[in-house]
């Protein structure tokens, strides 16, 4: 059971020394209780206090970092079973699998494509995270060469996949500074893999398909060998076993504070699925249900995009309204003569309007005002969506340069702004749109004549 801020505060030195970065001991205690900062940030803690607090403040699922300074993936440190309970913090890494037996040229082409894949989604840049390189050749030198070449092409986080400690050693020599994830320690090779992980300060996958009991036994051995940064591989998981096993692992970590299994999980959805189409579906499920690293067997932008979107959606904070970046968005392929609508930057509002505009058959311009993530009526009531704000946005985003006409359609719910907006936007025609986004299509059909 997590300690309350007050209980933690009782153990602190109460000096408000600010060395932890917080202005008071209480403010620090509150952050610790949310597990937003480790108790060790307090340097004046007495030994007894540290002992009392450390266990209680240690994240139930260890945060694991893969990758170097330029690009890294952080997974783990989740605190809830359901995103509505708080939020899911660390989006799973999506990695593309490469084989060291494939022609290097083709491999590097894929690496290049993956590295350059940037999907712009409403102001956010979405990308895949890195590669899992498999030592298919069983040859250490080939493996190392491939790893080196990939790393030279794009310094993205890596998973190195080989059961052979020697091959792993060779590959690590070429890539250890980028902190790749070592895949994997098994009950047969764990001592050597642990050595490598320690030597190169890299995170290590503990792989044990037999049972959770044996998986826990393996992680404990690795802990004893001095490896703390672990990732779990409970073996190949189909739709049902993935859901059930990964749920059990999350529960064990969160509800039982079961340390041996308190690590993020790596999955390989292709291992249990019969087609690329099916692989994508299972990967989608694993994004929602508790995977930490997902290794995809092939790269296709057409499936990367929906998976990245799924990840973005599941890992948004449900208690904060998601905000769109304000600006002017083309919906469809609008011309200068196309309709101009205005709305707020609450994401759901934006999506409702954008979806309807998209479906209306009228390519349009959508001006999104900064209302601090509030919906139309709420923003209006809070004074964050008024005539002045709209007029300012029209100027700030240089709307007049995009369109040839001077008509702007405002949401029907704020019809009241019309008069004021006429004053603010001299020479413009202010049109009052429908109160519900659903009616936008009909509205444009009836009233848009340009």
């Amino acid at each position: 059971m997590a300690l309350s801020g007050i209980e933690i505060y009782k153990h602190l030195p109460k000096t408000n020394c600010k060395k932890c970065g917080f202005p008071t001991c209480l403010a620090f205690a509150m952050k610790v209780s949310q597990k937003a900062i480790a108790i060790t940030a307090c340097t004046d803690l007495s030994e007894t206090a540290r002992a009392a607090l450390e266990a209680a403040s240690r994240p139930p699922i260890r945060l694991i970092t893969i990758g170097g300074d330029s690009r890294k993936v952080e997974v783990g440190n989740e605190v809830v079973m359901f995103r509505h309970e708080k939020t899911f913090y660390h989006p799973p890494g999506l990695m593309i699998k490469l084989k060291d037996t494939a022609p290097l040229e083709a491999t590097l082409k894929t690496v290049d494509e993956v590295a350059n894949l940037v999907i712009d989604r409403v102001g956010l840049k979405l990308s895949l995270d890195g590669f899992a390189i498999q030592n298919e050749s069983k040859d250490a030198a080939t493996f190392a060469r491939c790893v080196e070449a990939v790393k030279a092409k794009a310094d993205l986080p890596l998973v190195l996949m080989s059961p052979d400690p020697a091959a792993m050693e060779a590959a690590l020599e070429k890539s250890a500074r980028s902190r790749p994830l070592i895949y994997a320690a098994t009950k047969d090779n764990w001592e050597k893999m642990a050595e490598l992980a320690k030597k190169h300060s890299c995170p290590l996958v503990a792989s044990e398909p037999a049972s959770l009991d044996e998986l826990a036994a393996l992680t404990q051995k690795l802990n004893q060998a001095g490896v703390e940064d672990l990732v779990l591989d409970p073996g190949p998981q189909g739709f049902s076993s993935s859901l059930n096993t990964l749920t059990q692992l999350r529960r064990l970590a969160l509800k039982k504070s079961f340390r041996p299994l308190g690590y993020p999980i790596i999955t390989f959805p292709a291992e249990t699925t019969g087609s690329p189409e099916e692989e994508v579906l299972l990967a989608g499920q694993q994004i929602a249900k508790y995977a930490g690293i997902i290794v995809l067997s092939r790269f296709s932008p057409a499936t990367a995009y929906p998976l990245l979107t799924m990840r973005l959606n599941m890992y948004t904070d449900p208690q904060k309204p998601i905000q769109m970046s304000p600006g002017i968005y083309p919906i469809g392929a609008p011309k200068p003569s196309s309709p101009l609508c205005v709305t707020t930057n609450f994401s759901l509002t934006y999506f409702s309007v954008a979806t309807e505009l998209e479906a209306s058959g009228f390519p349009s311009w959508l001006l999104v005002c900064d209302t601090e993530g509030l919906s139309v009526l709420t923003a209006w009531a809070a004074g964050k969506f008024d005539a002045e704000k709209i007029a300012k946005s029209v100027k700030a985003f240089n709307v007049e340069a995009s369109i040839s006409h001077r008509s702007i359609i405002i949401p029907g719910r704020v019809a009241v702004l019309r008069g004021e907006l006429e004053e603010e936007l001299q020479g413009w025609k202010i049109m009052v749109g429908p109160p519900e986004a659903m009616e936008i299509g009909s509205y444009l059909k009836r009233y848009w004549t340009n």
Binding site: S4, G5, I6, Y9, K10, K14, N16, F22, P23, T24, C25, L26, A27, M30, K31, Q34, H84, E85, K86, P318, Q319, W380, A381, G412, R413, V414, A415, V416, G419, V432, P435
Partner: protein, 740 residues
């Protein structure tokens, strides 16, 4: 129970049953028991008998058993010398009558005499299933409240037409049957050229009283189709009709024994009987929701002519049955809707102003009894707008009188506060303030479109019915623009306001056994629940206990639910068994205890919209309060926004919680920790805007100079700065029991 009515009804029942027995005997002899019997296109057999007994009558031979049953229900006619309450007997006699009437009509069908040919027209007779279903859906979805079964004939043809028109305009189905002095309302309507038929919601049953049983057959079938009721489950059928089918019997002209007997049958269904002649009243409720039998002698009704009396008669019928009114369109000459609420009427477009600086304007809503209020009556006392010059400033009093069976005086301020919201919906009309600081501005464009003072009445009348129909049955509005009148009434209004203030202030947690919840914020803080008690407002500051109570009465399935306090666990901390149970069940089992007067021990959860956040300052042995509109740093080292991130989202955080600012003034303000004495720092804007009230509270708590000892953002934004100040001024918190 009226003995006269009981005697008449029971006597009538005897006569109908005797008639049915003779008719059946004759029919069986002449046609044989195998002769089929069926009403028009129905799968409910003889529906009243089917509904009451589950018996499916398909042939003459099935009838004797049912009639036997009717006979067995029949009580003896009361003797002159013996007085009994008779209600049960009369109701039984009514049921027996309906059985007998249905049997007679069934035999008539078998003989081909139904539906009846009358004066060259074919009457409709019973309603077929297809139509019943179509109307039934409208009754369930509320478009059609129910039906009026009119028995007899009106005073004149014009009166008959007006009564039917009035009923139609309310969406009420009209069933027509029987006669009075040889005339039937069917004749009266036909002679006046009124179209009768399904399309006009008027159904002709027959020219005798027996055919009135079709109305009850219709009601029975509606319950069987829409009430999830099985045939034979008569209790459910009757209750369904009592609560869902807003029907009544309107007896026009003389009421004879058979009409009494049939009416007694209708009363079983919860349908009241209203007569336009002098008969005894049976006013108390019971089987019907309100009165059972009401006499409204036509000539005694208010109204300047018969047409007005007819309107009044229907209006009274609607009230007696408790039919709620909905007004789809607010009848005013300008646009109306929420989009106009925030509109400003600027100087250049101002036509007339009521109240504001240097003028007088107030609004008052009070409760009256049902017969003191005439629904929809709007009176303007003093000059209308057209009599006032451009740009004038004129006094105004908006006096609203409401009546409702569920209305309570406690709801008056809740309803009164809605005036602002309602009036602002009109395009070109601006409303500011409330009570005696109300201020209205009418724009030129609105007045040019024909907006008048009386339209304020229309707006209010429509909105109170539409939004508060659950508690308000009748609304009348008087608008005083006569300066003398306004002045005179102002004193009275102020007395009422101050009475209300005292009452609200005197409302204590101990005085009630129910608190209210508010789950409005669960859409984004699923594990948060507010429990609102009389001495603590919701943490958003927007809802107090009375608001929540009214909201629950208006919308029992809405966000505010009653929370029974239950057994007290800790009176000092404000912990009750009932509250804990409710909290547990409504926070997805995340929070199992809740104290209402403590911030240190299991305080209330906090959502994202609290007015203020209160935080422990351990160094000062007290608490600070920061308000939402204070953007500055605070002594706890966190701004309001950072604090929200820590405490919000439905968490229970000892030492921290969200509160509404008026909680500061409550006697129960963290009373478990020592109340206002523990406040060591307040946002400056809070301190300033609530200065008077806070001073009064400090007086009340016996620390009159406390406010001066409390820090604010202008003197300290860190604990290091605050603590010496508190020490210097001798803040009482420093010497109180340690909080940690």
């Amino acid at each position: 129970m009226s003995r006269f009515i009981a005697t008449s009804a029971i006597r009538g029942a005897h006569s109908v049953i005797a008639d049915a027995e003779a008719t059946l005997k004759d029919a069986l002899q002449k046609m044989g028991p195998e002769t089929p019997v069926a009403f028009t296109s129905t799968s409910y057999f003889l529906p009243v008998i089917f509904g009451f007994t589950g018996q499916k009558i398909t042939k003459l031979g099935d009838m004797p058993a049912a009639l036997q049953h009717a006979r067995s229900l029949l009580p003896p006619v009361p003797r002159d010398n013996l007085w009994l309450p008779y209600l049960g007997e009369t109701l039984d006699a009514g049921v027996a009558t309906l059985f007998a009437e249905e049997i007679i009509e069934g035999i008539r069908f078998a003989k081909g005499q139904q539906p009846e040919q009358y004066n060259g027209h074919k009457l409709n007779g019973p309603i077929d299933d297809v139509q019943m279903r179509s109307w039934g859906i409208q009754m369930v979805d509320g478009r059609m409240p129910g039906f009026a079964a009119i028995v007899g004939a009106a005073k004149s043809n014009e009166v008959a037409v007006e009564i039917v028109r009035q009923l139609q305009s309310r969406g009420q189905l009209v069933f027509l049957c029987s006669q009075s002095n040889g005339r039937s309302i069917i004749d009266q309507l036909r002679e006046s050229g009124v179209d009768l038929g399904y399309d006009t919601f008027t159904v002709t049953f027959g020219t005798d009283t027996y055919s009135a049983v079709y109305a009850l057959g219709y009601a029975t079938r509606a319950a069987l189709s829409f009430g999830n009721v099985a045939a034979g489950d008569i209790r459910k059928i009757l209750l369904y009709n009592k609560f869902r089918c807003f029907a009544f019997v309107l007896a026009l002209g003389q009421v004879d024994d058979i009409k009494y007997a049939t009416a007694a049958g209708a009363i079983n269904y919860g349908f009241p009987v209203i007569a336009d002649t002098v008969i005894p009243n049976i006013l108390p409720s019971g089987v019907t929701r309100y009165a059972h039998v009401v006499s409204l002698p036509f000539d005694d009704l208010p109204g300047k002519d018969d047409l007005e009396k007819a309107q009044r008669l229907v209006q009274r019928c609607v009230e007696i049955r408790g039919i709620k009114i909905k007004i789809a369109q607010v009848p005013i000459p300008v646009a109306y809707g929420p989009a106009f609420e925030g509109e400003v009427v600027r100087r250049e477009n101002l036509r007339i102003e009521y109240g504001g600086k240097g003028s007088m304007c107030f609004e008052l809503l009070t409760t009256k009894s049902l017969d003191e209020v005439e629904d929809g009556k709007i009176t303007v006392v003093g000059p209308e707008i057209d009599a006032v010059p451009d740009g004038a400033k004129v006094p105004l009093a908006i006096v609203i009188e409401v009546a409702g069976r569920k209305m309570q005086t406690d709801f008056e301020p809740v309803l009164e506060r809605q005036i602002h919201h309602f009036v602002n919906g009109a395009e070109g009309i601006q409303h500011i303030g409330q009570r005696d600081i109300a201020w209205l501005r009418f724009s030129k464009s609105a007045v040019n479109k024909g907006f008048k003072l009386k339209h304020l009445g229309d707006i209010l009348h429509a909105n109170y019915h539409n939004h508060f129909g659950a508690i308000v049955d009748k609304v009348q509005i008087t608008l005083y623009s006569d300066p003398e009148k306004v002045k005179q009434l102002m004193g009275k209004a102020r007395a009422i306001y101050s009475e209300r203030n005292i009452r609200t202030a005197g409302l204590t947690d101990e005085a009630v056994d129910t608190f209210y919840s508010c789950s409005l914020c669960q859409s984004f803080a699923p594990t948060h629940i507010c429990v609102i008690n009389p001495e603590r407002v919701g943490l958003c500051g927007a809802y107090n206990w009375l608001d929540c109570r009214a909201s629950y009465e208006i919308n029992p399935t809405g966000p505010n639910k009653p929370v029974a306090k239950g057994k007290v666990i800790d009176a000092a901390k404000g912990e009750w068994e009932g509250v804990n149970k409710f909290v547990y069940e409504n926070t997805q089992m995340k929070t199992d205890r809740f104290t209402l007067y403590s911030i240190m021990d299991q305080p209330m959860t906090t959502c994202g919209c609290c007015e203020c956040v209160m935080v422990l300052l351990p160094e000062c042995n007290g608490f600070m309060l920061v308000s939402r509109d204070d953007y500055g740093m605070t002594p706890c080292g966190m701004t309001f926004t950072t604090l929200m991130g820590t405490v919000g989202g439905g968490l229970q955080t000892p030492g921290m919680m969200g509160v509404g600012k008026y909680y500061l003034l409550s006697k129960k303000f963290i009373s478990s920790e020592g109340g206002i004495r523990r406040v060591v720092w307040l946002s400056k804007n809070l301190k300033e805007s609530m200065e008077e009230e806070l001073k009064a509270v400090c007086e009340r708590e016996g620390v009159p100079d406390l406010l001066d000892k409390i820090g604010d953002g202008s003197v300290a934004t860190t604990v290091e700065d605050l603590l010496p100040l508190l020490e210097k001024k001798g803040h009482p918190a420093l010497t109180m029991a340690p909080l940690i």
